[in-house]
């Protein structure tokens, strides 16, 4: 795993396994992410190769890694990245069975050919029905947290969200269905009131895996507690827009 966090912290987000024990290897560094795709040119590949050479030389020795990287463009830069990881940036942690997030993956039931519509057809959605089989919300790295106290109900966040995440509440607020939010930050970008939608690192929260909190409900239930919570997150918020700060 490539992360700036230590293995114990990360383990809170990794589903527990029954068996066998395994070793969690953390390569120190900024996570490599273009969301769903890995950027090929930010050194992640090289650092991971260096880490493998360190942890499992039986698979790959440092010489193998060097030889390979030297055959590519920008060889010295690449080799340095691999060496960095090899020399100092790798943390190891033995993970015992049962350690980790108590989350059990339920594989979906796949129907047999007799139960499927022919011709590759499938039932469509009903209006306003989000796709129940594919949410995508666990893919996000930043989560929008909304300060309903400051919201002026302009609806821009709702308009611009490409994933139709916002539910319109009866009193005209816009409540994100976090299970469907991919964390793009568009809503925070378009919100005209500073610090009303903030994007916070998803690893600050432990409510993922399909049981995301309902921000609007939490705010309605206890505005004071919500305000405190929001303020505690504010310093950790990503700077989304230079324009606003």
């Amino acid at each position: 795993m490539v992360s700036k966090r230590n293995p114990d912290e990360l383990l809170k987000f990794i589903p527990a396994r029954d068996s066998p024990p395994y070793t969690l290897v953390v390569v120190y560094g900024e996570r490599s992410i273009g969301d769903f795709w890995t950027f090929p040119d930010d050194g992640t590949v090289e650092r991971v190769l260096g880490a493998i050479a360190k942890v499992m030389p039986s698979i790959l020795t440092l010489d193998d890694v060097k030889r390979y990287l030297e055959s590519l463009d920008k060889p010295s830069e690449r080799v340095n990245r691999a060496l960095e990881a090899y020399q100092s940036l790798v943390k190891l942690r033995e993970v015992r069975p049962g350690e980790g997030l108590p989350y059990k993956y339920e594989p979906p039931h796949l129907p047999g050919w007799k139960d499927m519509m022919i011709g590759g057809a499938i039932p469509g959605l009903k209006p306003n029905q989000r796709n129940p089989y594919f949410t995508g919300g666990t893919a996000k790295h930043y989560r929008p947290v909304i300060n309903f106290d400051k919201c002026i109900k302009c609806s821009l966040c709702w308009e611009y969200c490409p994933d139709s995440v916002f539910d319109v509440t009866p009193d005209g607020y816009f409540n994100p269905a976090l299970a469907y939010c991919k964390g793009c930050g568009v809503c925070a970008e378009v919100c005209p009131v500073p610090d009303t939608i903030i994007m916070v690192d998803e690893m600050e929260f432990e409510d993922g895996y399909g049981k995301f909190i309902d921000e609007y409900r939490a705010w309605k239930e206890n505005r004071e507690a919500y305000r405190k919570w929001f303020e505690s997150l504010l310093p950790k918020a990503q700077v989304i827009s230079v324009r606003k700060r």
Partner: protein, 174 residues
């Protein structure tokens, strides 16, 4: 079941209608995909009496994944270059079936959605061009031009600007 078309009479009506999602959450577009946002609004504007045709491209691959879909409108895939043909075929069939009394007579929007590879390349241009000659059919062709074949790894299309870097660009690697 028949679908009745509701016309907005007040601003409130309009807002109410705008709040109905026909292209809803649960698709696989990348974070912040502006094309998905556009489709969401196209679907709202078109309303329920619409048939959507999606040519191969990221707006097809990402929005429907077999056994799940993001569409609350009837939707069908067409081949990469088939947008022009598909809208003509659909609109013509609706016209024929309505005129012959095999379908109730009503206005149904036919919208074909394609990317630049689908409609500006790949033979798609000729099928769009042919579609435009069939003026007796009503349809809308929507090309979202992201200037590359983005879904298949960002390759060059005829819409890629000169000098832009794609995975098909012959750049010197060392």
């Amino acid at each position: 079941m028949t679908v009745s078309i509701k016309l907005a009479r007040t601003v409130k009506d309009l807002l109410q209608m705008a709040q109905t999602e026909y292209f809803d959450a649960g698709h696989r577009t990348c974070q912040g995909c502006e094309s998905a946002m556009v489709l969401r609004w196209v679907a709202k504007a078109a309303g329920p009496n619409t048939i959507v045709i999606g040519a191969t491209g990221c707006m097809y691959v990402a929005n429907t994944t077999y056994y799940t879909t993001a569409w609350a409108l009837p939707w069908i895939h067409t081949q990469l270059s088939g947008t022009g043909s598909a809208v003509v075929g659909t609109a013509a069939a609706l016209k024929a079936l309505m005129e012959k009394g095999k379908l109730p007579n009503e206005k149904i929007n036919v919208i074909g959605i394609c990317g630049d590879l689908g409609c500006a390349d790949a033979g798609g241009l000729s099928e769009v061009s042919n579609a435009l000659t069939h003026t007796k059919y009503n349809f809308l062709i929507l090309m979202y031009d992201n200037e590359s074949s983005a879904n298949t790894d960002i390759q060059e299309t005829t819409m890629t600007p000169y000098g832009a870097l794609t995975t098909f660009s012959q750049v010197v690697s060392r």
